[in-house]
């Protein structure tokens, strides 16, 4: 088997930059005390790295309050924290029809009534549809910024504008867009931005975050119900969680090495420039799109999108799992099935058998796009 082709970057980016290895290693070797617990210098050094990461994230997403950034295990945990923290019984929720289960299942678990808007239409039609679905008790609009199975994106600035006008909280799932598309929390009126550390920001697995807007500054954070309770080194004699972020929602020891890796990842992404990374991925996407559109027996979904970093397709008589298995034997990493996105698969009419997803990252190349097409020919001529 020759050099692998990794086309599963929507699941987790691979490989990681050398700077991230160094950041994690330096933390492990030199300062990995428990942040926010003991008063010794190693604990403070670890806390400083965590704080530096908050500052970097705040700058990246235009948030004035770095203390409003809550570290989590991953985006799913961040979404659970924001959704369950802001919703109460009898609230109404609006979500899109391209949501991942991290939103869909979580909203259902709250027991709140919800409506779904269609993301596969023009921006104006999306805003009109959401407007029509808003009720007096609509508390939150939740949507992803970019789909995890196709190049569809939600117009978050327009949706945020509407949410602000109606006095509704706006939660954004940026699992597939953080580090790839610019996100300005203030401009888009986002109240809670949920991000992964290990995807477009190139950190390691084990760390995500939810960024809360200035609406939750200081003791206004009490508006958010705690998802977990426990120790965090603050107000230890009290029997309840502190009123301010981030410690109100951060319980137990933080994953300091993963946060140190995320800090290194963000700096690397910023030094390259997210516009440059996105353009690079767009270029490879365009080549693959062209190759796949002309591939006999292959059905490419959302073929009209000329830019993106995700392609979804099926091939004639093979199931997506069979084809992914054949590609795996040839050293190609892709993902088949439903990608935890039943709503989006239903939208694309792949809800019964799923499909095969290619997702690109900053380390992919044009050469890989052509090589993949050759391997695909081989795998489909069996």
């Amino acid at each position: 088997m020759s050099k692998l082709i990794y086309f599963d970057n929507a699941a987790t980016t691979f490989p990681k930059p050398e700077t991230v290895f160094r950041g994690v290693r330096k933390c492990m070797e030199e300062y990995c005390g428990n942040p926010g617990r003991s008063g010794h210098f190693l604990s403070f050094a670890a806390a400083k790295a965590v704080y530096d990461c908050r500052i970097e994230l705040a700058e990246c997403f235009n948030l004035s309050e770095p203390e409003n950034i809550v570290f989590t295990l991953n985006t799913t945990y961040a979404l659970n924290m924001a959704i369950k923290g802001l919703l109460s019984e009898n609230d109404h929720v609006i979500i899109s029809n391209i949501e991942h289960n991290s939103v869909y299942r979580t909203v259902i678990a709250t027991g709140c009534k919800y409506d779904i808007f269609n993301s596969y239409q023009t921006r104006d039609k999306i805003i009109t549809e959401i407007s029509q679905k808003i009720k007096p008790n609509t508390r939150v609009i939740i949507c992803n910024h970019a789909s995890n199975i196709c190049p569809l994106r939600n117009p978050i600035s327009s949706i945020g504008d509407l949410a602000k006008k109606k006095g509704i909280y706006f939660i954004v799932d940026a699992a597939q867009s953080a580090g790839i598309y610019p996100i300005d929390m203030k401009e888009a009126n986002i109240d809670a931005l949920c991000i992964p550390g290990h995807k477009g920001l190139y950190g390691i697995q084990g760390c995500g975050a939810v960024l809360f807007s200035s609406k939750f500054r200081g003791e206004k954070a009490k508006r958010i119900k705690c998802l977990t309770e426990g120790g965090n080194g603050v107000n230890s004699l009290e029997s309840f969680m502190p009123p301010t972020l981030p410690e109100r929602l951060e319980t137990g020891t933080l994953p300091t090495p993963a946060i140190a890796g995320l800090l290194a990842g963000i700096k690397t992404v910023n030094s390259i420039g997210i516009d440059n990374i996105r353009e690079h991925e767009n270029m490879i996407y365009a080549r693959l799109r062209e190759n796949l559109r002309n591939f006999k027996g292959l059905k490419l979904y959302c073929p009209e999108f000329t830019k993106g970093n995700i392609l979804l397709f099926n091939f004639n008589s093979m199931t997506s799992v069979q084809l992914a298995d054949e590609l795996d034997r040839e050293g190609v990493c892709v993902r088949a099935g439903f990608h935890c996105s039943p709503l989006a698969h239903s939208l694309l009419k792949t809800g019964k058998s799923g499909a095969l997803r290619i997702s690109l990252g900053g380390f992919n190349s044009m050469e890989e796009a052509d090589k993949f097409t050759d391997i695909l020919k081989k795998c489909t001529q069996l």
Binding site: G39, Y51, E67, S236
Partner: protein, 77 residues
């Protein structure tokens, strides 16, 4: 929360806020140090704060209030 020479301590809600406060003061030309406050003298238990010169404390407090940083007790001086 003790007195060290001419140093005064400001209690803050958490270590994160203490770091933020120290950064804000630094950008305004006030030197401060993040400290762990003695849990036996705080009513809530473990927490952090900053230590700065007592002569700077009024200005420091004004800067932090202006930036919506919740301040607890002041001691020392």
């Amino acid at each position: 929360m003790g007195k060290r020479n001419n140093m005064c301590a400001l209690a803050l809600p958490s270590l994160t806020y203490a770091m933020r406060a120290s950064e804000l003061l630094k950008s305004n030309g006030i030197y401060s140090r993040v400290i762990t406050l003695d849990p036996s003298v705080t009513k809530k238990g473990c927490t952090n704060g900053i230590e700065t010169e007592c002569k700077q404390i009024a200005r420091a407090k004004a800067i932090l209030i202006d930036r919506s940083i919740p301040i607890g007790e002041i001691s020392g001086g």
